[in-house]
């Protein structure tokens, strides 16, 4: 700590941090609580919900009605597949932009980011038609490709910022020692950028896991990931909060656990280069 803080100050900051953390976590916590209540109890006032008896009936019903395993596998394949694919394209691209910038590199980066500013529904029909013609509708390959393209700008941007923090002299030294371009990227740059690459990877797996527009529009049953699984429990008629919460809990649990175990890596990667 650079500055001295009084115990009161520290207590205030701690309480504030915990409160904000709790506030952000509250919707997820409430979903988990609702998932263990009966449908009739789930719609009562919050205090009545908390005092109602606990039950796993919703989980049993969701298990009986849906094939969770198939949706889960689709989610894993699509999110990991698209992230790996994006990294393969983005690492060389970010290397070029960070170490061999041209006159238009900044414009190029902005242009890439600008594709994220367009509402996805704007290109729904063209993509749908292409998918139809290539026979990619409701396939995991099709969805993996779309997710790669959607997340590519973010992956390139993140990697570009990390690479810029690496002194180019080190790469030069490698070149002096006779390393080829491929070897330079693979053996020198990549190991140094591991925290950055890891956090990019994690963030993109999370983004792809949660993506709910394309995954719902381009799949029907065979390639439908967990987002489609959650969507199938929303209803215009009848009570469904408890079952929907159970489905949501089951869908977010894997990614939540992954995030929990890798949070150190994630935070280090995200703040990488922020403090000098």
């Amino acid at each position: 700590m650079a500055r001295k803080t009084s115990p009161t100050q520290r207590a205030v900051v701690t309480v504030a941090a915990w409160s904000i953390g709790f506030l952000i976590f509250l919707p997820i916590l409430w979903t988990v609580i609702l998932s263990f209540k009966s449908e009739t109890d789930a719609i009562r006032t919050p205090l009545q919900v908390l005092s109602a008896p606990w039950t796993t009936a919703s989980y049993a019903e969701v298990q009986a009605r849906s094939n969770y395993g198939a949706h889960f596998m689709n989610s894993v394949i699509i999110s990991v597949g698209s992230t790996v694919l994006a990294l393969i394209v983005a690492i060389p691209a970010a290397w070029a932009m960070a170490f061999q910038p041209g006159r238009r590199t900044k414009d190029l980066l902005m242009w890439m980011l600008s594709t994220k500013m367009m509402p996805a529904v704007g290109v729904l029909i063209p993509i749908y038609l292409m998918f139809r013609d290539f026979g990619l509708l409701d396939t995991r390959i099709g969805l993996t490709v779309v997710m790669t393209l959607i997340n590519l700008p973010i992956v390139v941007w993140m990697l570009y910022t990390y690479f810029r923090e690496i002194p180019s002299e080190i790469l030069e030294a490698a070149r002096m020692d006779g390393a080829s371009l491929g070897k330079e990227i693979l053996y020198v740059l990549t190991p140094m950028a591991v925290p950055g690459i890891a956090s990019t990877l994690l963030l993109n797996v999370i983004l792809a896991w949660n993506e709910a527009f394309w995954t719902l529009q381009l799949t029907t049953s065979k390639a439908a990931p967990l987002t489609a699984f959650i969507a199938s429990y929303s209803s215009p008629e009848g009570l469904f909060y408890a079952k929907l919460s159970a489905a949501s809990t089951m869908a977010i649990a894997p990614i939540l656990i992954l995030g929990w175990f890798s949070q150190k890596q994630l935070v280090r990667g995200l703040t990488f280069g922020a403090v000098k």
Binding site: I43, R44, Y128, L137, S232, S234, S235, P236
Partner: protein
């Protein structure tokens, strides 16, 4: 020679195999009756050897998803669940296959005529009714008795207002009336459409001019806002069908006017705390009976892009047949059979016994005529909706304005003026008023 024979045999096996076992993709919504269909479908799969892939989506997502697929001829769905709003519009576009050849034993004459008419385009059935609903009045007979009140056989909205006043006791969290307040063309506007109709109003006149700032609309909406503010539950603007069902089932409402499909649920002691204390009456009326109760049918249709029409027809014929009704009755209990589609369902003694509300429901559905929804003639069909593609957008904006009036953010007059202006602008843009 040997190779040729083997090849021929292999081809023959492949061909018959393909004809025998098809995979159908069925898109549907997560409603109780559909869940039962999903549960019983293995019976059809076993009997025919075909396989079904289910796609279950939330109603609005489903509508968008399916529209994209039909419009681009993506061919991802073989059967889809459509409502009575889309069926005639999509049928007219040529997006749905006619279903007039579902087999000799299908018994078309047994379908409730108004239901079949609502699902036809150019005189041909384009969607087979799976279950249909109208709207009616549900009330607590114990509270009525305790207050010395009697629900007339055909209540009026004035009477409903009087009852609601007498049955409201806010100290006990007991509210005289529960009505939809959540904005949306299928939410508050479903109920309000019927309220306006029975006050003699209409969405458009014969020249497609919006009539939202007309006298009947003013009267109906003023009545609604006044009634709900005085005798309705707090926060009514966020109450849709589900929220009101929850309030009614937990004994918070004395009167609830909503879908007849709620009957089976509020009558089910497993779900409802007031199951043995409720009674039913037709939807209230004001100056005209026309359009006082709504009409909605969830139905099964085959998009014209499907390549497996024959197999799809065989499933639809099964799922909307008399035998299916019996299958549900025997497996899931008679109160759970899909209501409002076939006259024969209402003749079943088991159903009459299990569902004492059946006669009221049938009468409501038979009386609800989407072809004559209003007192004065109109250029459209549909009671609580107008079967033009522009209606979803207009209905939802009007619903938001009225919801704002209910919340006290604006006056009824200002809300209807804004709604009228919006509707007029949208209709002009779409090229309607002549």
């Amino acid at each position: 020679m040997k190779l040729k024979t083997a090849l021929l045999a292999a081809t023959a096996i492949a061909l018959t195999g393909a004809a025998q076992a098809e995979e159908l993709t069925i898109a549907t919504v997560n409603n109780g009756d559909m869940i039962i269909m999903q549960k019983l479908a293995p019976e059809w799969e076993k009997a025919t050897g075909h396989k079904i892939n289910w796609v279950i989506l939330e109603e609005n997502v489903l509508r968008q998803r399916v529209t994209t697929d039909i419009a681009t001829k993506g061919g991802q769905f073989d059967i889809m669940t459509v409502g009575s709003y889309e069926a005639p519009i999509w049928g007219k576009q040529g997006w749905l296959m006619p279903l007039d050849d579902l087999g000799e034993d299908y018994d078309y004459g047994d379908l409730i005529p108004s239901v079949a008419a609502g699902l036809s385009a150019d005189g041909k059935l384009v969607a087979a009714p799976f279950y249909a609903e109208s709207s009616f009045t549900m009330y607590r007979k114990d509270l009525f008795e305790a207050a010395g009140l009697t629900m007339p056989e055909q209540p009026t909205y004035d009477q409903i207002g009087e009852f609601a006043e007498k049955l409201t006791d806010k100290s006990k969290e007991q509210y005289g009336i529960c009505l939809r307040g959540k904005p949306g063309w299928g939410e508050n506007m479903a109920f309000l459409g019927t309220l306006v109709n029975t006050h003699g109003g209409q969405w458009f006149d014969m020249n497609w001019q919006p009539q939202i700032d007309s006298q009947p609309w003013q009267q109906a909406i003023t009545y609604y806002v006044d009634l709900m503010t005085k005798y309705g539950p707090p926060g009514a603007v966020s109450n849709g069908f589900n929220e009101n069902q929850a309030l009614f089932q937990t004994g918070k409402c004395a009167i609830w006017i909503d879908a007849t499909s709620a009957a089976g649920r509020v009558y089910d002691p497993k779900q409802s705390e007031v199951a043995d204390k409720i009674a039913f009456a037709p939807a209230p009326q004001a100056v005209t009976p026309a359009g006082s109760a709504w009409f909605w049918a969830w139905s099964l249709a085959i998009p014209s892009s499907s390549t497996k029409a024959d197999v799809a027809k065989s499933f639809i014929a099964w799922a909307t047949s008399k035998d299916y009704v019996k299958l549900v009755g025997e497996n899931e209990g008679w109160v759970a059979v899909p209501p409002g589609t076939r006259l024969s369902t209402y003749a079943l003694p088991e159903y009459q016994e299990a569902a004492p509300f059946a006669a009221t429901v049938l009468a409501s559905i038979e009386a609800a005529d989407p072809a004559k929804p209003t007192k004065d003639p109109v250029p459209y069909t549909g009671i609580q909706y107008v079967t033009i593609p522009e209606f979803q957008g207009i209905g939802t904006v009007v619903g938001q304005q009225i919801s704002a009036a209910l919340a006290g953010q604006t006056s009824v007059e200002a809300a209807l003026k804004a709604a009228q202006d919006y509707a007029a602008r949208e209709m002009t843009r779409a090229g309607y008023p002549k």
